[in-house]
Symmetry: C2
């Protein structure tokens, strides 16, 4: 077979912000699928803030991506050839197939998607890990109750835009924190948030005093840093702070900025709790069913930011996350 598989591999452990030299762009001959395997072509690649953490050589919830390895990524693959009983040519499959054009898989962790439910990219976002993260982080870790006040940061991102909408569907008051007027307008005008705070131009602490005068019951934190510290000053009694991520800190060359105001947890009898979405795998189906229902009923708006290109564009597209250039789920569609 003369066809080549283009891949993005990790070339160096990044220090601080990602650089082009941290990646290698390689082509290798396409492997033929063995017995019980399928082969496919990548159609959509998911880009996620968590990817930055996977590049560091330190203990985490997944082993780091090894130097020289194909970059880990969830993607949607179209099956082209299969001797696996569960997958047939033409099937669209979602899984952790990595940043490469061609995939050979034994089907482990691969899930056939139902294209009638939603467009393929949505299975990386609202019906994929972003949706699962929003759903279980908010409802399970955050233990959300009807009538509460919810604040979410990174509110125009893949997870944040869903967190806010799910909280509204559950009868809560929702305030989103995002960067820039366009994102803030999206939150209140299109996604139904009760208020939006532009952290680039507004004093977050002061704005929270106005929009959440009785305090914040659930804070879903995607960003860390100064925004986390600002929200901590406004916690209601028995508040829950859900630690989903800390994108403001991922490219730090110095230590992460710890939340200086963590002692409000004591004053407010509040808790701060982390989670990893994979722990909820046994309940993914249940969540996906509810989210798909909301989408079908027009009660949940799915925001996707699809960039068309080749796998070679992956490093540049990934940077968009850290520059806050995406709105909704960032996806690379291979042309």
């Amino acid at each position: 077979m003369s066809q080549m598989n283009r891949q993005i591999r990790l070339a160096a452990r990044p220090v601080g912000a990602l650089k082009p030299e941290d990646w290698s762009h390689v082509s290798e001959p396409v492997a033929a699928p063995g017995e019980g395997q399928f082969a496919g072509v990548t159609r959509f690649i998911s880009l996620d803030p968590a990817m930055r953490g996977w590049l560091d050589d330190r203990p985490s919830y997944l082993p780091p991506v090894g130097l020289g390895e194909v970059m880990r990524a969830a993607s949607v693959v179209e099956v082209t050839e299969s001797s696996h009983p569960g997958f047939a040519p033409g099937d669209l499959v979602v899984g952790s197939f990595g940043v490469q054009e061609q995939v050979v898989s034994d089907g482990r962790g691969a899930l056939k998607i139902e294209p009638s439910l939603a467009p393929p990219a949505t299975f990386l976002g609202a019906l994929g890990m972003s949706g699962m993260t929003a759903y279980f982080g908010l409802l399970d870790v955050g233990a959300l109750k009807e009538g509460e006040t919810v604040v979410v940061s990174g509110a125009a991102g893949a997870v944040g835009s869903l967190v806010g909408q799910i909280a509204k569907l559950k009868g809560c008051r929702v305030i989103g924190i995002a960067g820039g007027a366009a994102k803030c307008a999206l939150l209140t005008e299109e996604l139904g948030f009760d208020a939006a705070i532009d952290y680039r131009t507004q004093d977050v602490r002061k704005a929270l005093r106005e929009h959440a005068p009785d305090g914040v019951d659930v804070y879903f934190d995607n960003v860390g840093g100064e925004i986390l510290d600002a929200v901590l000053t406004r916690l209601a009694m028995h508040a829950r702070v859900v630690i989903c991520g800390a994108i403001s800190q991922y490219n730090n060359e110095t230590a992460v900025q710890g939340p200086s105001n963590y002692l409000t947890l004591l004053v407010r009898r509040a808790r701060m709790e982390g989670f990893v979405v994979f722990d909820y795998a046994p309940r993914f189906k249940e969540a996906a069913r509810e989210i798909a229902g909301w989408i079908a009923a027009g009660r949940l708006t799915v925001k996707e930011h699809v960039v068309k290109g080749s796998v070679d564009d992956f490093p540049a597209v990934l940077q968009m996350l850290f520059a806050g250039e995406n709105t909704g789920k960032l996806v690379l569609e291979l042309e």
Copy 2:
């Protein structure tokens, strides 16, 4: 009545470490108890790290001590005169009576103590707020389970020394962090801790790796700062970090040092939770009964650090807490 009541009042809002000028020492005529009131003389005054927080003019779980007001403190008072049906001359009473020699009270929040159960000072410590804090912080907020590994900082202090012993009584492995060889020896040789770490001479992170190779299930934090950060790196899956206090940070003139390693909460699916012991008031009796039983059975060692003097010594004795000079519950006994 010509007798005078000596008092310590707050003269200035302290900035950073407490200074003698932050206090005023005043004498005023003793008030006569009115109808339904009792009068008494102070015998023992409790000294607690939380007192530092009460001096700052910022929202907290109690209003700040006002400028010019008698310093808030729990104490044991001996009733000398009473027209209150619940209290008779000779009774020993515990309550928040303040740093003063003479007390007049309508009995609100006052509790008659049973001297046969324990010496009076113990009702400020193991059978008082220190005991309640250790008990509910560890068992309720920490949700301790038999067989777990517990780490406590400020381990030779009033609360810490009880936390470690209660955890042992509940079948856990216990590691105490304290300052100095003498305190560490106390923990392992007298109080039954499995290991002690001297943060002044040892690398806490490295020592935890040795003493808690499988990670820390419950961390009871009295100190904050670098020790909190060190323990965060060693959390076991689903760990609970109980935020009881942060004595290392109370005298800061700059911002509190936030826990830089808080993202391990995510990696380890762990939570960090604050509490205020007063919320458990309806259950104090239940806890006191169990603690008194342990003391009576010789299963719990009560450490008290009693300094004899006058109310004028209060400011100097309070400093001992921040210098780490006390072992066990610090009490000022009025002579």
